[in-house]
């Protein structure tokens, strides 16, 4: 019987793989493993065998049936494939150059936000934490605590918007330094990003703009640390660019410096360069060692601690980074500008 079964299997195998179409294949399925098929018939004959023989033959039968089922499936796929290939060959491909239709509308971050976040992320990597403060401030935080008493000539450097004295719109992010130091004892290492306001509106000034402020206070900080931090920031922001620190004056730092970056357009040569007005350098921020009077205002011991602070305008950096030439375009919110970011 086993011999017979194997013969059936060989015969069926060759018939299956020579079946010309799905219909012929289906007839073969019925013929061999259908309800009244040959193998089914053989299965019914098992009951006449001895238990030992029954087990032996049964196993072979089942095995053959499984194989035939696999063969049928395989041939079925082959036949389908032939049909499908014909169909596919007959039809034209899609116009793959038509635009994709998934999520046509993509959003964008404002260039100011992008730059602000870049700066924040870079400084976070070297240990700075983000703090924020109010935009509506008191003169105390915006001026007095920053060593800028009333009638100090430096108050002229910033034309301030007032709500009602002593309440004003902060003219820089520096008041956040004071708030941070009043909140926490040294060591402290913070950055304060945000909007600031000055009563100035022309080609190069908007009455609102963005700054980021950095402050670090500890026992052994010097101008060398300040230079290191700002170089790290600028290298990460603009790639390898040299910086120069130029002595300057801010009431709340001493020594103070303006930070200039090698011009990104003329690479520092200054030759016929409009961007840097032929100087080879671009001003990007101010910085310095925290003035002892500022420490006094927040109750820090200036004998024990020293610290540095720096501030820069985000619009300025964004203009340089993206080649934006009109400051005011940041706040016009022209979609044709926004969609480029």
């Amino acid at each position: 019987m086993i011999e017979q079964i194997n013969q059936i299997r060989a015969e069926a195998h060759s018939q299956i793989f020579s079946a010309p179409d799905p219909e012929a294949l289906d007839r073969l399925r019925v013929h061999y493993i259908g309800k009244k098929g040959i193998l089914t018939g053989l299965l019914h004959q098992l009951k006449d065998l001895t238990p030992d023989k029954r087990r032996e033959v049964g196993a072979v039968l089942n095995d053959v049936k499984t194989h035939l089922e696999q063969d049928l499936k395989q041939r079925q796929t082959e036949l389908k494939r032939v049909v499908l290939d014909k169909e596919l060959a007959a039809s034209a491909p899609l116009d793959v150059t038509l635009p994709g239709s998934y999520a046509i509308n993509t959003g964008s971050l404002h260039p100011i936000s992008r730059v602000m976040n870049d700066v924040v992320q870079i400084l976070k990597r070297i240990g700075f934490s983000v703090v924020t403060g109010p935009e509506v401030e008191l003169e105390f935080y915006n001026f007095e605590a920053l060593n800028t008493p009333e009638n100090h000539p430096a108050r002229d450097m910033q034309d301030t918007f007032y709500i009602n004295p002593p309440v004003l719109l902060r003219s820089h992010t520096s008041p956040v330094q004071i708030r941070a130091m009043k909140d926490k004892n040294p060591p402290i290492q913070v950055i304060a990003p945000g909007k600031v306001y000055r009563s100035d509106y022309d080609l190069t000034h908007t009455p609102m703009f963005h700054q980021i402020e950095g402050l670090m206070v500890d026992e052994h900080l010097s101008l060398a640390d300040l230079k290191g931090v700002l170089n790290y920031l600028i290298k990460n922001l603009f790639g390898s660019r040299s910086l120069r620190f130029r002595p300057s004056f801010f009431p709340f730092t001493e020594p103070s410096a303006e930070v200039d970056m090698q011009c990104i357009q003329c690479k520092g040569s200054g030759k016929d360069c409009r961007l840097c007005k032929a100087t080879g350098w671009l001003e990007i921020g101010g910085c310095g060692m925290v003035h002892p009077n500022v420490f006094k205002a927040v109750g820090y011991d200036s004998e024990k601690y020293s610290g540095f602070a720096f501030g820069m305008g985000i619009e300025r950096i964004a203009m340089l980074k993206y080649g934006i030439d009109d400051l005011r375009s940041f706040f016009e919110n022209d979609v044709r500008m926004l969609e480029q970011f």
Partner: protein
Amino acid sequence: MLLSLNWLRDYLAKSDIKIDPKDLADKLTMRGIHVAAIKRPSFSLENVVVGRIEKIEKHPNADRLQVTKVITKAGENVEPIQIVCGAKNIAEGDIVPIALPGSILPGDFHIKHSTIRGVESFGMICSGKELGISEDSEGILQLPKHSGIGQPLTSLLGGGTQDTVFEFELTPNRNDCLSVMGLAREIAPVLKTKLREQKPAKFKITPHRTSSIIKVEVEDQNVCPRYVARVIDGLKVQESPDWIKQRLEAVGIRPINNIVDITNFVMIEYGQPLHAFDLRKIQSGTIKVATCKAPTDFTLLSGESIGLETGDILIQDGDRPIALAGIMGGENSSIAADTTSIVLESAAFVPTQIRRTAKRLALHTESSKRFEKGYDLAVVAAASERAASLLRDSMNANVYHPPIDTNEFGAKEAVISIDMRDVRKITGLKEISAETASELLDSIDIPSHKKSVNILSVRLPTHRQDLKGNVDLIEEVARLAGYDSIPEHLPTSLATYERLDESHFDFEFKAKTLCCSMGLRETIHYSFVSESLLKNFGCAHDQMVSLKNPLSDEMKVLRTSLLPSLLQTYSYNLNRKVKHQRLFEAAKTFTWDTKEETQVKETPYLAGLLSGNLSGSGWKDKPIQLDFYHVKGLVEALVRQLTSVKLAFEATKNTTLFHPNRSATIKLGLKEIGSLGEVHPIIRDSVLETDEPVLLFELNLEALKKYERTTTRYKTPSKFPAIEIDLAFVVEKTVSCHAVLENMKNTGGELLTDVSVFDVYEGESIGPSKKSMAFHLTFQSLDRTLQDNEIQELKNRILTQLKEKHGAELRA
């Protein structure tokens, strides 16, 4: 501050030293004396010549232009050239500078042969400003009548010597550099030379001393710490000598007459403003320095009438004001053409009051600019002597000597000690010695001597009023050593710092990124808007915060909502044919709140605007008009990502901005945290002037931040099969989806793991007041396979409950 290098040379020990302007400017800038621009008054003026206007006619095609014929060559029968000119101050016969084609004027302005409104023009008649030799752009520069026609202009300007002018941008602490002397002090060491010794002027003691002619009374020495008055007579008002005029013009000061010019000259030279009164007009014989006691009117020598206020410092003739001290003289005492005797004033006034007055009157003169930053008591007397000697020497005037001086011993020099260990600690210049520091300070006339290895005793000169404490000297040493010489490294102790509580920044940035991922573009608007903008969009209320000194009405009120700005931007872009706008902004709103330190409550908000189609202008899918539910979906997705809370939405009542039937108030518990919906049709039609629906949302980020999703609790998915059934009900239209859902969830308990609405239908077939809602329910247990009868039972309970509570009928 402008500095003529020729003028500077007068104060250098080696006056003929070679100066490379660019190099000097760079070095000064790196010492904190910022040179903002280098001007060469006669630079590249080669093709600019002296010409004479022969004829002026009207331009045939332009009212404001004239067509001139100009002689630009010496000799007889020279053919005039034609030049079109727009200036008004020209007349036939005028001698003027002519820029011929080929000349290059300051600002890289190339002069070419051109045709202006149909008339040919062969050059340009120039103003002083166009030539870079004066600030005056009012009209064409008039040259002396006897100037030789055709000669190069440069030969007229200081005999061909090329001067260079530096424009400084000085920091407010360095008022000592508002003078040629002060700048020379900084420049001499850079040029490796020294200051030239200034010989003090010698005066013979005259029989008539100043004090025998007039008296000086100072009401309060704190207001006027020093006042030096000198009577000078035998004067004749006339033009100044050329060398004085040239110097003044080089630094942008218009020569007036010899007396005024000399006071200006000494002011630029010494940094000490001076004033000359006509002696005839001091009727009482007493000059009194006093503060104004009651508001009164006063006419300045400029002819302008101003209001004096209490506190203003005045120079009085007895009780009659004759000058606004330190700012400008009065008309009633000024030098006239026939003045022969003057009182020359050199004084110091308290800077804060000068600032206050100058600022109030917006009168920023060369004098007030200097006084409001401070004074040097020593130079008050020196400047007086210098001016007196110049007047005496240049016109043989008679100086009454000695002068009146209210504070002969006024100038005192303080001495302080600095510790080199502090210098090293702050600057990072680890090796700098006391000797080096002393040399550096000495190079700019700050004398010092070493007391011990680390201690330097420094005498603070009176001309450096900005130097007060140790840190000021540390800065001087660092500045003079050069910031370039300071090493650089990253701070070493970073790891020890604890992180502060993260601020709002990260949360807001997360919200912004999510908005971007959902197709919105970020905008940034000014925090202040016009009141009418807020009113137009129903966002004005009585708690609005306004600026006291706004730039304009357009930027006056702090925003109470971000939506009006977004709507304004929507219109701006719509006018530029931008369709399908999707905008957002994250910023603060402001309202009065007495609980706040500043009385103003700032609340961070996130707001968005959407218009047009969901899928843009696609070629493939049917456009779907954005509606309320799209925005709601966006808000829900945002909040789901940002927080771990569920929002509630309630139909909005009484709103001006929103469509009354297509908007919702967003609530977190009982607190309103925002709104969303379609813009009110009346605003859409009459303010936005569009016919497409505009959708808005606004969310209080501060409220949401409290529920920021910081972590996630993982739930193992059930291993047992889920059973899904669909149910449709007919309810009254007033029954909300939320109510039905909540009811089902309550009844279904934890086995009902999910329920969502998949169809809503309204139509005649179910009755005009009814709607049908179809729900998809998922049942699943974490610990067993649910049986059919269990599901059947739950389903029945849900149906019963819905019918009882909401009158819901199962739809066949």
